[in-house]
C-alpha cells in the first residue's frame, strides 16, 4: 500500500513538476557533455529518475562515447515511458550507425511495450478483482446476477486475458542486460579460462538466462549463446543511474 501511495505521489509530482533547470540543457547545447552528465546525474539523484532525464543523460553519455551507459539509460527510460521519443531515437541511432546490437523484440515484448509493466499489472489485478467480485457479490447477497453484472464480468475477463501477454512480455523485457565493458568475450564455458567464442561490443543488449560460477549465460541479438562475467553486463532493471564500474568495492 505504501509503495502504491509512493507511486501515485511520484506520478502526481511528475505531472506537476516545473520545468527542469536549464543549466544542464545549456551545457549540453554548448557541447559540455561532461558537465551535462554531471548535472543530470545530480538531478536524478535528488529528484528521482524520470524518462526524460534518463533519456537526456543517455544522449550526453553517448556524446562522450560511453555506449554502455548511454544504452542503459535509454533502456531504463523506456521502462518508465515505453514511448519516450528521445530514448527511442537514441536507440535507433545506436542500432543504425553506432554499431550497437539489440535483440529484436518478440511479439509479446512489442505488445508489452504498449504500456508500462506496472500498468499491465494494475490492469490484470483490477480486471481479476472485478471478475471475482462480479461472481461473489450476487452470491453473497443471495440474488441472481443481473445483465450489467454479466457484461461487466465478460469485460473484466477480456481485459484480464489481454493483459496476460503484456505481463509475459514485461518479464521478458526485464530479462535483458547491457554490455558495459568495452572488450567483452562471449565464452564457451563459465570459467575464467573459458574459450572465447566471439566478442560482444560495449552497449550491446543481450538476453540473460542463468548464472553459474560468477558468469551469466546470455543470448545475443543474432542468437548466439555463451557466458560472460557477471560484472561485464548490467541488468536493464536497476536503479536510475548506471553503475560506476571503475569505482572500487568497499573494503
Amino acid at each position: 500500500m505504501r509503495c502504491f501511495a509512493l507511486l501515485c505521489f511520484g506520478w502526481l509530482a511528475a505531472l506537476g513538476a516545473a520545468e527542469a533547470p536549464a543549466s544542464a540543457e545549456t551545457a549540453y547545447a554548448r557541447g559540455d557533455y561532461a558537465r551535462a552528465v554531471e548535472l543530470w546525474s545530480e538531478e536524478i539523484l535528488a529528484d528521482g529518475a524520470t524518462a526524460g532525464r534518463l533519456a537526456a543523460l543517455g544522449n550526453a553519455e553517448w556524446r562522450l562515447g560511453r555506449k554502455g551507459r548511454a544504452v542503459l539509460c535509454w533502456e531504463r527510460a523506456l521502462l518508465i515511458d515505453p514511448r519516450d521519443p528521445v530514448a527511442l531515437a537514441g536507440l535507433r541511432h545506436g542500432l543504425d550507425v553506432g554499431g550497437v546490437d539489440r535483440p529484436k523484440p518478440t511479439a509479446a515484448e512489442e505488445y508489452a511495450a504498449f504500456l508500462t509493466a506496472d500498468l499491465w499489472l494494475l490492469l490484470a489485478v483490477g480486471s481479476f478483482w472485478t471478475a471475482v467480485l462480479c461472481v461473489a457479490v450476487p452470491r453473497l447477497r443471495g440474488r441472481a446476477a443481473g445483465e450489467v453484472n454479466q457484461w461487466t464480468r465478460v469485460g473484466a475477463l477480456t481485459v484480464l486475458a489481454l493483459s496476460v501477454p503484456g505481463l509475459w512480455g514485461g518479464r521478458s523485457l526485464d530479462a535483458r542486460a547491457v554490455v558495459r565493458r568495452p572488450e567483452t568475450s562471449l565464452r564457451l564455458t563459465p570459467t575464467r579460462d573459458g574459450e572465447p567464442l566471439r566478442g560482444v561490443a560495449e552497449g550491446d543488449v543481450v538476453r540473460t538466462e542463468r548464472m553459474l560460477n560468477g558468469h551469466v549465460r546470455v543470448r545475443t541479438a543474432d542468437g548466439k549463446t555463451g557466458w560472460v562475467r557477471a560484472g561485464e553486463i548490467e541488468g536493464v532493471r536497476g536503479p536510475g543511474l548506471p553503475a560506476d564500474l571503475d569505482q572500487k568495492a568497499a573494503p
Partner: protein, 558 residues
C-alpha cells in the same frame, strides 16, 4: 610390691603403644587358570573409626593383562573395620602376577595395602566355554597412517552364564583417533549369545602406540531370568601395542590420494545424457568398499579440448559405505563425447600392494553447434557499391522536463516486486472465497430445512432416551412413558414434516411399520392419560426395554 609395680608399668606401656593397622586379603580361587574370573577381598582393621573410603579404583593398578574392578565395599558407620570386594579376570600368561602396594584412603586415615599376588597356572582345571568372556577383535598386523581399522569387543556368553548388559567402556589410544560405531549390539547367531561393541580406529602418526580398552559386562548365571538377583558384573581389559607405519613410497602410483582399503569403482552417472554445447552437467563417480572413504581426496579432473571442468560440492552417504565424487562438466564441442577418465589408486594393507581403479567413461551426445572461430563472409569484390543509403538518424534533442503521463513505470522494479503486494491480494482473495463458501452453506441449509429439523429431532430423541433411562432407575413408569412418547413424537414429526404434538400411534406405525400397535397404545395412554382423567393405579413397567428399543430404532433412522 615390686611385682605389682612392674605389672602397672607393663600395662601402661601396653596402653601407650600405638596399635598397628591389620590388612589381609584373599583371592578366590587361590590359583587360577589363564583368563579365569576370580574374586579379591581386602579386609582392613584399624585402631580408629575409619569413615568412608575414597578413590579406591583410582589407587589400585592391576598388572598388564589383568582386569580388576571394585564390585562392592562394606564400611559400617562408627566401625574400625572395612571390607572391599573386587572382581577380576586373570591374565593369559602363567606365573605369579603382582598387584603393587597401594593406599586405601579413608576419611580419618590412610591405610597401606601390601602387594597382592595372584598365581596363574594352566594346570588348573578350567573350561573357558562355561563362563562369559570378552574378546578383542583387532587385526594383528602393521597399521598405516590414515587407515580405517574396524575393531570390536565381543562379550560372549558361556554355557553357564549369559551376558545381559555392558557399561563403563574406557579407552586410551595414543596416536589414534577412536570412534565407537555401535554399542551393545546383539552378536550374530553364529557366534552364540552375547553383545558386541564395534569401533573405528584411525592411526594418526607413525610409530608404536599403546591401545587399551576396559569396561564391565553384566553377566547372569543359571536358569534365572533377567530380573533375578544373581547377576554380577565382570570387568574386561585389553592392552595392545600397535605398530603404525606410513604407506610405502615404493611403488606408490602418482594418482594415489590417500585411499587405504579395498574399493570398487561402482560407476559414473551424469545428470543429462544429451546436453547442449556450453550447458553444464553434473558427473558423479560412486566409490564403494571397505576402507577410509572419508579420508580420500577427490581425484582431480583436468579440462581438455572437449570438456571444461568446474569444482562442485560432493555428498557422502555414510550408511551405504560409499563415497560420491561430484564434478561439473561443460561440453565444449558437439558430437558423441566420452566423459573424462576418473582414476585413483588404493593401498591394500592386507596384501601391502597398490591397486588402480578407473571409472568406465560414459558416452554423451552433445547437441548444438561448434564454436566458430572465424565468421566467414562471402562478398563479391566486383559487385557495385551499396546502392541503398543508410537511414538518416540522430539523437533527438533532450527533453528532461517531459512528463510521461499518469502511469509512469519505475526502472528499479515493478509494482509486483513491492513487499506485500501479492500477499495482500492473496489474503483478500481468501476472504472472498471464505465468505462465498459460508454464504453457500447457509443458503443450502435454508433451502433444506429438513436437515435442521432432523438434527433437532435427534437431539430431542437422545435427551428422551437419557430421561427415560433415569425414570426407569427411579421406577417412575409415567415419567418413562412421557419421555419415550416425546422422543417418538419428535422423531416421527421430523420424518413426516409435521408438528410433534400432533403425532399419534398411527404416525409412529407409518414410520416404523413393524411396531407393536398394542404396545404403542399402552405407552401413549400411560403418557397422556393424566390429561383426561385422574391417574389410575400405576401398573408394572413391563416391556420398558422394547419401548427403548423402538426409540433407538427411530433414532437410527433419523
Amino acid at each position: 610390691m615390686r611385682r605389682l609395680l612392674s605389672c602397672c608399668v607393663m600395662l601402661c606401656l601396653g596402653l601407650l603403644a600405638r596399635a598397628e593397622d591389620r590388612v589381609s586379603w584373599e583371592i578366590t580361587p587361590r590359583v587360577t587358570a589363564p583368563g579365569q574370573p576370580f574374586r579379591l577381598q581386602i579386609m582392613v582393621e584399624s585402631d580408629v573409626v575409619l569413615g568412608g573410603a575414597q578413590f579406591i579404583s583410582r589407587e589400585i593398578k592391576p598388572p598388564r593383562g589383568m582386569a580388576l574392578r571394585l564390585s562392592g565395599q562394606l564400611i559400617r558407620p562408627g566401625s574400625n573395620e572395612a571390607t572391599f570386594n573386587f572382581s577380576g579376570v586373570a591374565p593369559e600368561q602363567n606365573g605369579e602376577h603382582v598387584i603393587p602396594s597401594f593406599t586405601l584412603r579413608f576419611t580419618r586415615k590412610a591405610v597401606v595395602v601390601p602387594e597382592i599376588r595372584l598365581r596363574v597356572s594352566d594346570q588348573v582345571a578350567y573350561r573357558r566355554e562355561t563362563q562369559a568372556r570378552a574378546e578383542l577383535v583387532l587385526p594383528d598386523r602393521v597399521f598405516y597412517v590414515g587407515e580405517l581399522i574396524r575393531g570390536a569387543i565381543r562379550m560372549r556368553g558361556g554355557e553357564d552364564e549369559a551376558v545381559v548388559a555392558s557399561y563403563g567402556l574406557e579407552s586410551l589410544a595414543e596416536g589414534f583417533s577412536m570412534t565407537v560405531t555401535a554399542e551393545r549390539q546383539a552378536m550374530p547367531d553364529a557366534l552364540g549369545q552375547g553383545l558386541q561393541t564395534t569401533f573405528d580406529l584411525t592411526p594418526l602418526r607413525e610409530g608404536e602406540g599403546e591401545f587399551s580398552l576396559n569396561g564391565i559386562m553384566l553377566v547372569q548365571s543359571g536358569e534365572s531370568g533377567v530380573f533375578s538377583q544373581n547377576g554380577r558384573d565382570r570387568p574386561f581389559a585389553f592392552r595392545r601395542r600397535l605398530t603404525v607405519a606410513h604407506v610405502p613410497e615404493r611403488g606408490r602410483p602418482p594418482e594415489w590420494n590417500g585411499a587405504i582399503g579395498r574399493f570398487v569403482a561402482e560407476g559414473l552417472q551424469v545428470s543429462k545424457d544429451n546436453p547442449e554445447v556450453g550447458e553444464p552437467i553434473r558427473l558423479r563417480a560412486i566409490l564403494t568398499g571397505e576402507g577410509n572413504l572419508d579420508r580420500i581426496l577427490p581425484p582431480e579432473l583436468r579440462g581438455d579440448e572437449t570438456w571444461d571442468v568446474l569444482p562442485a560440492n560432493e555428498r557422502r552417504r555414510r550408511a551405504e559405505d560409499q563415497r560420491m565424487f561430484v564434478y561439473t562438466l561443460v561440453p565444449r564441442l558437439p558430437g558423441r563425447l566420452r566423459t573424462p577418465a576418473v582414476r585413483l589408486a588404493a593401498f591394500d594393507p592386507a596384501t601391502k600392494t597398490f591397486s588402480k581403479l578407473e571409472f568406465a567413461p560414459l558416452e554423451i551426445t552433445v547437441t548444438g553447434n561448434a564454436p566458430a572461430q572465424v565468421d566467414l563472409v562471402t562478398a563479391d569484390p566486383a559487385a557495385p557499391a551499396a546502392t541503398t543509403l543508410k537511414p538518416v538518424t540522430g539523437l533527438a534533442a533532450p527533453q528532461p522536463g517531459r512528463s510521461p503521463g499518469l502511469f509512469a513505470g519505475s526502472p528499479q522494479g515493478t509494482l509486483g516486486d513491492a513487499a506485500g503486494f501479492w500477499s495482500a491480494n492473496a489474503v483478500a482473495l481468501g476472504l472472498v472465497v471464505v465468505a462465498t463458501a459460508v454464504t453457500g452453506v447457509l443458503g443450502y441449509l435454508a433451502a433444506h430445512p429438513e436437515i435442521r429439523r432432523r438434527r433437532r429431532a435427534r437431539a430431542v430423541m437422545r435427551a428422551a432416551l437419557a430421561e427415560a433411562a433415569a425414570c426407569q432407575d427411579r421406577r417412575d413408569a409415567h415419567g418413562f412413558a412421557v419421555a419415550v412418547v416425546r422422543g417418538l413424537q419428535a422423531g416421527v414429526a421430523a420424518r413426516l414434516a409435521a408438528e410433534e404434538q400432533a403425532m399419534t400411534q398411527s404416525d409412529v406405525e407409518r414410520v416404523l411399520p413393524g411396531a407393536d400397535r398394542a404396545r404403542l397404545d399402552r405407552l401413549f395412554l400411560r403418557a397422556h392419560a393424566d390429561r383426561f382423567a385422574p391417574a389410575g393405579p400405576r401398573g408394572a413397567d413391563d416391556g420398558a426395554a422394547e419401548d427403548l428399543a423402538l426409540l433407538r430404532q427411530l433414532l437410527s433412522l433419523s
